[in-house]
Symmetry: C2
Subunit: 412 residues, 2 copies
């Protein structure tokens, strides 16, 4: 492994928990982007113009920035670092309050002092993905050529590009090998990408509720979301920043559709059933009579306050493009040839977005190259979102695997 021999600037800001609903403001460029795009509340590493990131689309991105959070302390050997990769609408605030919503970190249940991913033992890194909107370079960032937000001039990126940007961050932190890379859903795709294409940098890997390629059904749901965004006149052909608009309706519909896929039918049954909103009678109108309607509308409307619509397009596209076997004549095992990484593959029984059979495909590929792999299918009725929720068996699995891997790695 080689560290990049280029100068980087680290820009540290003080995290300030902003009050909710103050998510956008008029930026220097006159748009109403979130201030987190340009001035994130986390650490940022800026890679200058002469250190471009070569993308899968054959374009170069420069300069670019990666915003990240860290928790815990890096040991002397720099051997206790865990990189957590976030999902589609996640961010770097894995174990600390979101600066815009003030809500707790999205994985505080599993990351923290004494938690399964124990910040007393491990140095936890979580960066906002390339293409995101929380401080890493993405379509809402300023295009240095124009001084205005990229919009749809941002290049279409891939999971591979996201991970190459993360590699640059890890280089910057002068970490040769990550003790573990962990992530669920799209985070799990990044984990697999790390393991496949940067395998000497990864001692262990935990891909959770994920897949090695996006299925046509996955693509179909994403395409609906993109069409909803792009159909919104306030999307302005991707140039909404310049017009001081936000395609809230389209993005809200996209989020609503996606959110259904995150939950199991069982979870919807036990959470809502056919319960009515006011607890009373049908209104014979198009109001949100049913609790499930109200819940979905809420999911849609709160999401648009914190997320950039173009980021949503780019990130879903990256997921759709993901196919780890493509460059190996559709033989997934070949992506992992020679791997020394220890794997713990996790799926959830009621996850119909990334069902267990897709985890089995990963496990079979790893077995085919005699990789060190354990596979746990967790019994849960919570659907895909189970990986974000309190699932004791899941917690125990992660804790146990990291304990065992630490011993192998010689960590205390």
């Amino acid at each position: 492994m080689k560290h990049l021999d280029v100068p980087v600037t680290v820009h540290q800001t003080i995290a300030v928990a902003m009050s909710a609903n103050t998510t956008t403001h008029t930026s220097d460029d006159g748009s109403n982007r979130s201030s987190e795009v340009t001035h994130p509340s986390s650490q940022v590493v800026h890679f200058p113009a002469d250190a471009p990131l070569t993308l899968d689309c054959n374009k170069e991105l420069a300069p670019f920035s990666i915003a990240y959070q860290t928790y815990g302390t890096l040991n002397k050997n720099k051997s206790n670092a865990i990189l957590i990769c976030h999902a589609l609408t996640g961010d770097q605030y894995v174990a600390s309050a979101h600066p815009m919503t003030g809500k707790p970190g999205w994985w505080e249940s599993i990351v923290g002092s004494g938690k399964p991913i124990d910040t007393d033992r491990f140095f936890v890194i979580c960066s906002n993905i390339l293409g995101g909107c929380m401080g890493s370079t993405g379509p809402a960032s300023l295009n240095p050529k124009t001084g205005k937000p990229y919009g749809v001039d941002f290049p279409v990126i891939t999971i591979g590009d996201m991970v190459r940007a993360q590699v640059r961050l890890i280089d910057h932190l002068e970490i040769d090998q990550l003790f573990s890379v962990v992530g669920g859903s799209m985070g799990g795709m990044q984990v697999l990408e790390w393991a496949a294409n940067h395998h000497d940098r990864v001692f262990s890997a935990i891909p959770i509720a994920t897949a090695a390629w996006h299925t046509p059904q996955n693509i179909a749901f994403h395409e609906v979301g993109r069409q909803a965004v792009m159909a919104d006149p306030d999307w302005c052909g991707g140039n909404y920043h310049a017009h001081g608009k936000v395609p809230k309706n389209g993005l809200g519909v996209a989020r609503m559709a996606a959110h259904i896929t995150y939950l199991s039918e069982d979870a919807l049954h036990s959470k809502f059933g056919r319960n009515l909103q006011a607890g009373s009678a049908l209104t014979f109108s198009f109001d949100a009579d049913f609790q499930v309607e109200s819940y979905l509308r809420h999911q849609g409307s709160t999401f648009v306050d914190r997320f950039d619509a173009n980021s949503y397009l780019y990130i879903t596209r990256a997921m759709d493009y993901f196919d780890l076997a493509l460059e190996h004549n559709d033989i997934l095992a070949k992506a992992f040839t020679g791997t020394q990484t220890r794997f713990c593959v996790v799926s959830f029984t009621s996850d119909w977005l990334y069902p267990t059979r897709e985890s089995r495909d990963i496990v079979q590929a790893l077995n085919a190259v005699a990789a060190n792999v354990s596979f746990v299918e967790i019994e849960s009725n919570k659907g895909h979102d189970a990986f974000l929720l309190d699932e004791e068996v899941f917690f125990g699995t992660v804790r146990g695997f990291l304990d065992s891997a630490s011993k192998k790695r010689g960590l205390s």
Copy 2:
């Protein structure tokens, strides 16, 4: 059973297969509604102002019209009539070309001379549902009070209301008892409604790929579709007819989202996989790279040419409201107390929209009241849409059940 003792006018028009894409024109009221709304290419029965339909919302609808097609010949005893109930986006053209698209009838595979629903033996009736847009009164019809399309002034209707309107049609045709009522999806809901609340009018019933109540997941998907339509500025608060607009984008997105639920993941795999549109490389753009994207876009764009957006809102709402057990303290069996109807309940293994367990609920309820019921779960990888496709075992099931029931009914 009593026939309604009111005068009705029958308006017969000659079916003219219009060329595709000539689906809307500027109507007398200045809007761009389909001519099929006001001048359907099928038979229509007009129920006058003094013969109102009392709706579940406690409003009265009058006058109202029901457009319908018939196939085959009614026998002397009027004992060979089969009513086919169509699904959400279906129509009365069950076995004849659609007047707007020129495409074959939506169920020609099963309805016709020598087919399982044999028009040489049976008199087949199929009416456009109340709330539809193919000639039966719905939100695109003229509101007699204003002379303009109802739009969202149309009352919110239920499956019960749709069936009550069908009962009026059957009364008009002077048929005491239907030999059978048959339908899939929302058509199956109507079948169940007939069997539960008009049981002396139904000798046999075939509810297919359906449920006795809409689940929260069903409601959730519909709500996404409705929000997509209503978010489209061209919806104009439901008054798009008056503005000469059509919320094509919103309705297209709604159709795309719904269409995913009609197909199984297996069907998507075998139909499209991750195949690229041009058979070539990824474009690194938001074009429809994948065949499944192109297919969905096509589904969306062709649908908006033939369907009224407000009808889509009203009909999905009716489905969401459907809960046959609601008036019986959630005990579904009580809805069928004393039934003499013979049932054939059909489900498909890969249907995740109305999965087999929901058919089992119906069968268990029927068993609980000692009804005459057979239940067939058809092995199919085609998802919910299987009921519209060539499924030999399904065809054999329908043919066999109708043969057996005809003998019991004394039909030759």
